[in-house]
Assembly symmetry: C2
Homo-oligomer: 303 residues x 2
C-alpha cells in the first residue's frame, strides 16, 4: 500500500448552458494539486500552500469534510495528512471546492487500496460541497472524479451517467468579481413557463445527442439557455459581449460556468479557442475589470 500520493484535480464547468444542475465537464487546466499521506494516528491534518487563507479545521474545510464522510464509512480509524495547493480560485465558478473535495476522497481511496466505488466517492465529496455552498450538489464533483462530460440524471437517488464526447477546446475567462453561489441561486424564479421548459429540454436532448454522436453543429445549436442565463448573466458585466463576440469568432457556443462569474466557450479548433481568448481579454480590458483567461481542452481521463 502506498503511503503518499499526489494528484492534480481538475477544474470543472457545471451546467453546460442548458443542463442546469445535471451536466458538468472536466477541464485539462487549471488543476489544484493535492498531496496526501496516511498517518499512523487518526485525524486529519490540512496544510495550504497557497494564499487563499482557507480554513484548515477539517469540519470547515471542503476536503476535510469530504474526508470525514469517507472516514465514517471505514471499519476502523484512519489518519490523513493533506497538503493542498489551489490553482483554481475559490468563487471562480470553476469547481474550486469540488476539486478539493473530489481530490481528497480519490487520493484517500487510492492510499487505502480502493475500497470504495466511484459512486461512493461522489457521495463523500458531496459532503464537502455542502460545507462550501450549503447544498449537496454533484455537478462539479462528478466530472472531476470521472472525467469527460457527466450527467446527474437524479440526485436522490444518485444516478450518474458518463457521456462520451468528441474532442473539444475550451476557453474560459474569469472576470475577478464576486458572485456567490447562494446569491446566484436565490435570484432564480421558483416557477418557469412550461413553454420555456420545453425549449430547454429540447436543447438538453440536442446537446446530449450532439456530444454522443460527435455532431459539433448540433452541440452549437443546443448551447442555448432560456431559463437560467437570462437571469444570472445580469450579475456578470460583459457577458453579452463575450458571448456574441465568441460566436462571431467561430466558437460553438458557451455561457456561464456553474454559477459564474467565469464564462466558458467551446470550440472545435485550437485556433478558434485562442481567438476567443483574445476577444474575452479585449472585453474586460475595455470594461476595466481584472480577468484571467485559460485556453484548454475537455479532460477525458478520470482523476
Amino acid at each position: 500500500m502506498r503511503k503518499e500520493i499526489t494528484l492534480d484535480c481538475p477544474a470543472t464547468v457545471a451546467n453546460l448552458v442548458c443542463g442546469f444542475d445535471i451536466l458538468g465537464m472536466a477541464l485539462q487546466d487549471p488543476c489544484d494539486r493535492i498531496t496526501m499521506r496516511l498517518r499512523d494516528e487518526p485525524g486529519i491534518l490540512i496544510t495550504h500552500t497557497d494564499s487563499y487563507d482557507l480554513p484548515t479545521e477539517p469540519e470547515k474545510n471542503v476536503a476535510g469534510a469530504a474526508l470525514l464522510d469517507l472516514t465514517a464509512a471505514l471499519p476502523g480509524p484512519a489518519g490523513f495528512e493533506l497538503e493542498i495547493t489551489k490553482n483554481i480560485k475559490p468563487g471562480s465558478g470553476l469547481g474550486s471546492s469540488a476539486a478539493s473535495a473530489a481530490g481528497a476522497v480519490v487520493a484517500a481511496n487510492k492510499l487505502l487500496g480502493e475500497p470504495f466505488s466511484r459512486h461512493d466517492l461522489v457521495r463523500f465529496a458531496m459532503a464537502g460541497e455542502k460545507v462550501a455552498s450549503g447544498v449537496k450538489h454533484a455537478d462539479n464533483i462528478t466530472p472531476c472524479i470521472l472525467g469527460g462530460v457527466t450527467l446527474i440524471r437524479s440526485i436522490f437517488p444518485l444516478d450518474i451517467v458518463s457521456l462520451g464526447a468528441p474532442p473539444l477546446y475550451v476557453t474560459v475567462v474569469h472576470p475577478q468579481i464576486e458572485v456567490r453561489t447562494s446569491d446566484a441561486r436565490q435570484i432564480l424564479r421558483k416557477e418557469v413557463l412550461l413553454k420555456n421548459a420545453i425549449r430547454q429540454w429540447g436543447n438538453i436532448a440536442g446537446l446530449v445527442a450532439g456530444l454522443l454522436q460527435g455532431d459539433y453543429d448540433l452541440i452549437g445549436r443546443s448551447l442555448e439557455d432560456v431559463i437560467i442565463e437570462p437571469v444570472r448573466s445580469i450579475l456578470i458585466p460583459g457577458f453579452d459581449e463575450v458571448k456574441s463576440g465568441s460566436r462571431e469568432a467561430g466558437a460553438l457556443g458557451g455561457g456561464i460556468s456553474g454559477s459564474g462569474p467565469s464564462i466558458f466557450m467551446l470550440s472545435k479548433t485550437s485556433n478558434t479557442a485562442h481567438e476567443v481568448a483574445r476577444l474575452m481579454a479585449g472585453v474586460y480590458q475595455r470594461i476595466g475589470i481584472d480577468y484571467k483567461t485559460y485556453v484548454t481542452t475537455l479532460r477525458q481521463e478520470p482523476l
Copy 2:
C-alpha cells in the same frame, strides 16, 4: 416516373414519457395504407375505404391539407388521387392524423421524383396536423417519416435530430374512450416548478443517452414524467394499474402515448411485451372498458 404508389404509414408514439413535445418514435404496427396516383388535371381527390367517416374535402382532411401545402411549393399545378385505409384509429393517441399527413406528402414526393427534402416534407405534413389539432406540431410526423426515435430540438426554427436506438419491443393498449388532444393540452399548467423541470430534463438527458448508448436499464430509469403525466393520466381510467403492473411484469417503463388515451410500454424481450399485453387486457376487462392491444417493435426504417 411512377404513376401510382402504395405506402404503409406507421403509428407513432409522441412524447416518450419525459420528452413532452420533443420526442417521438415509430412503430412497426399498426399502419394506415395510402395509395396515391398522379392525375393529369390539377386538384386533390380523396377516398376513404374505412368506416371512420373522415372529411374528404382537401382543406378539411389532414392528408389533403398537407398535400395542398406541398402543391403550393411546386413550380406548376399538380393533381393527386388518394385512397386511404385507416387502421390507426383517429383519437387513439397513436399519431393517426400524422400517418395520413406524412404518408400523403411522402407518397407525392416519390411520385414527383423526390424534389423535396425530408425536412420539407415534415413542414408540409405539419400543415395537415394543424387541421387535426389546431396546432402545428411535428412530434408524430417526424418519426413517421424518418423512422426510429426522433428529437424535435426546436420547432421554430425546425431542428430535427434522428436518435439511434437499440431494438425495443412495444406494447400498446388503446382503451376505447375519447381524450381530445385540445382538452389534454388545456388541463396542463402554464407554469411548472423549476425543481420539477430540472428532474424532467435529467430524465430526458438520461433517456437520450440510454437510447444512443443502448443502455436498457438507463432507458428504464429515465422513463419518468413528473410534469405532464400526473395531470393527464387522470383522464385515463386504469392508467396507474397498467403502469405499475407492466413494470412488475418486467417492462422497462412507459406511459401515455401522445395525449392518450393509448398507453405504451417498452420491453427488452418479446416475452415480456406479450406478458404486458395480457396484463393490460386484464385491467380493462376488469374495469369494463373496450380496448385493443398491440405487441410490436420500434420501426427503424424511414417511410
